[in-house]
Symmetry: C2
Subunit: 456 residues, 2 copies
């Protein structure tokens, strides 16, 4: 039991309004989107305005051995930002400054800035920040860095780590360090910068990021193709992967198509076994050739119907259909959202395995995928009032991770391990890599106060 | 003094011919291209055929507390592969297998394979491995991974770490671990994979790499432009950086132009203050627009003469002129090769600083640059028989690093810290980041046997 005087010391160490301790005010900081019922009740929530506030909170926590859960926008899907009983939450939601340096072609960003805000700020200067998680309208850069977030365009443009040139990080003892900077290339010393990206708040708390920008994306052409089966759609993806670089290559299976049609009718073909949405963003004069090659790959794999548009808004509607899959399916029950990935050629095998697992556990598992990356989101749907269904959903969740590992894949392609998947991590990494992970964690956070229970 | 019996134990632990102990046979394994006179004499050189040989050597070294210098092709420029007295060298030069998986679009490569060999193997399948250090014909993938090597095309295509999907690594206790794999996206656990890239053999020895490939590059158009000064050429680079993505953007100053003309006449303009070589690799129909924009930027910055060619071989001659700068200048004296980088808009300032430093120390410093990345190679030339000139060269070397740091830059953009630059590393990173580096190093190599004296 932490004494009231200890909490009072935290409150008085920071300006009025920064530290929240009323239970009702803290409620919204207890969970991320994984909605894990085991989330704890924090002692306090620190709503930092700057790095100095984060440092003060971490120093206090280090002094008293109190756990810290760092939090961005709370849109994480693996429970990585779930509060811990007897700990504190440090949220960076108030730290939202964005500065665009057009000559260096970078954005200097505080961690609470939303992904969409960075995109908008860059766009004002004809520049583009590519990483685009489906949640880009509500997720923060801090969370994106913490999970090394992916998205739809990363099939061509890579993931968050590819765009991080610099980070300010508060370490477990409260020291503020700066790694990297506005320089594009830098190999001086160990790649500590890259180590913090994807560390899910277990090694330090990011208080500033320098993000590489690229020139604004060209207008895109969009192809939508329906297939008799997920296997045939996946075969088209594998074939494209051999020789093309679409700027987006997304898959929806029959159940997710129908869920979206139920939720918001868009005249998608309910009978299709699967649907692919592919885009090309080459300069306009070169785009028809790439689109034709994408079309050929779809036809060769047995596409039923093909639709191509050069109209960006029309194309965006199909991308929107893909993005709607998650809320559409959520409207039909409780969800366990998976994020497994495999080498691209094994995508058809993984999708077949998921169907088998759905049958075995009598559970609906509609699936969407960043198909071009081999990264799938099987969405396990269950009736939360039915304990047996919930238990079966849980079994399916574990079986899908096991299937991905058996195929040389990963339990998480972009959401992170958080608390929801840490049980399966040793199965993927093995004892030696887990031991190495522990050594790095202990070296950087010897007291174990940074996001304990996440990853490890 | 290590007993003969200890070395004999190493020899007998490995098949005949793997361990070399004759001084004359070890001579060529003592230095890398930094030609540092302080390189030591090893006890033995282990020419590993596979990971098991590396493991056996590391276990032996760990047991006896003996330093290990890992070595690839020995083409490093920072002394990172220089032998240590009383230690062993473990060379991976014999481990050269390359396997291309076209469906996964990856190369599975042993560390001794040369960069050019990977490029050729990929090209046979219509694929491309982009990273292209100037030494690509003689440098190995193991060394590329150890230094996170860059090159000419990384202005558009990124550096080695952007292409590493998986690594097998022998740790300091001889444990062999596998990180990553053929999957494109994977955020399960800490980014240990990225930590090993660029670690210069101080954290482990890479025995296999899985490298991401992309579809073969399109034919390129090339622009060569001469400028009245390096400042005006650098201004063109900064302007291009705001809105274009050339696939190559290289700079040569007047002295390096003349050195190349002296070495191999190519009808370069000896009076030009600087020369830029830029390329576009967009699809043929889209290329003229990008080339015109590159041309406009050059004209606006005051280019004197412009030459554009769509002929790949003609274009390659100009790239070759740029690549020749290093041997051409080496033919005129001893060299200290710099590798400093700054944010792109500060490139003109850095180049002016270098000229000032050359004057201050009465030393020739011809400079070439991966200008689009802000990464420069000032080449300090001196007469090795003149002790005072050598001392002044050394001062210039240190002053250039200090100038880069003062501009928010780096002491090394792509060559690595090795032994040549470790004295300046704390000036760039500061005491906190150095302490963090030390903690990570100690966690992974508690005995300090992996490449001691490199980086730290």
């Amino acid at each position: 039991m932490v004494a009231d005087a200890v909490v009072a010391a935290l409150v008085s160490a920071l300006p009025e309004g920064v530290v929240v301790t009323a239970a009702e005010s803290m409620e919204k900081y207890r969970h991320d989107w994984a909605h894990d019922g085991t989330a704890g009740m924090p002692l306090a929530v620190v709503r930092a305005d700057d790095a100095a506030h984060v440092q003060a909170a971490v120093r206090w926590a280090a002094e008293h051995g109190i756990p810290i859960v760092p939090r961005g926008a709370g849109s994480g899907l693996s429970g990585g930002a779930n509060a811990v009983d007897g700990g504190i939450v440090v949220t960076t939601e108030r730290m939202r400054a964005i500065e665009i340096d057009t000559a260096s072609r970078v954005a200097v960003v505080e961690p609470g800035a939303l992904n969409i805000e960075v995109k908008h700020a860059a766009a004002e200067h004809g520049l583009w920040y590519p990483p685009d998680p489906s949640s880009y309208e509500i997720c923060s850069i801090g969370g994106n860095v913490a999970t090394n977030a992916g998205g739809l365009c990363c099939v061509k443009y890579g993931v968050t780590t590819d765009y991080v040139l610099g980070l300010d990080v508060v370490l477990a003892d409260g020291t503020l360090i700066t790694l990297g900077g506005k320089r594009v290339k830098d190999v001086a010393g160990l790649s500590l910068l890259k180590l913090f990206v994807g560390s899910e708040g277990t090694l330090g708390i990011v208080t500033r990021a320098i993000l590489r920008l690229v020139p604004a994306q060209e207008a895109r052409s969009t192809l939508v193709a329906t297939f008799p089966s997920v296997e045939s759609a996946a075969a088209a993806v594998v074939e494209m992967g051999r020789r093309l670089r679409p700027s987006m290559l997304e898959l929806m299976d029959q159940e997710s198509i129908n869920a979206v049609e139920d939720y918001q009718p868009m005249q998608l073909d309910r009978d299709a076994g699967a649907l692919l949405v592919a885009q090309s963003d080459l300069p306009a004069v070169a785009r028809p050739t790439e689109m034709a090659a994408i079309e050929d790959a779809c036809r060769a794999a047995g596409a039923k119907e093909l639709f191509v548009t050069d109209d960006p808004e029309e194309g965006e509607q199909f991308v929107q259909a893909r993005r709607l899959a998650f809320p559409a399916i959520e409207a039909t029950g409780s969800l366990l959202l998976e994020d497994v990935g495999v080498p691209v050629p094994l995508l058809p095998v993984l999708l077949a395995e998921i169907a088998t697992i759905a049958g075995r556990h009598r559970t609906r598992i509609p699936t969407v995928a960043h198909a071009g990356d081999g990264n799938t989101h099987p969405i396990i749907v269950f009736d939360p009032t039915d304990a047996d269904a919930a238990a079966r959903a849980r079994l399916a969740f574990d079986d899908i991770m096991a299937a991905a590992i058996a195929l040389g894949g990963t339990i998480t392609g972009e959401h992170g391990v958080g608390r929801a998947k840490k049980g399966a991590l040793p199965d993927q990494l093995g004892p030696e890599v887990m031991a190495l992970t522990r050594r790095v964690k202990d070296a950087l956070d010897p007291l174990g106060i940074l996001n304990p229970g996440a990853i490890l």
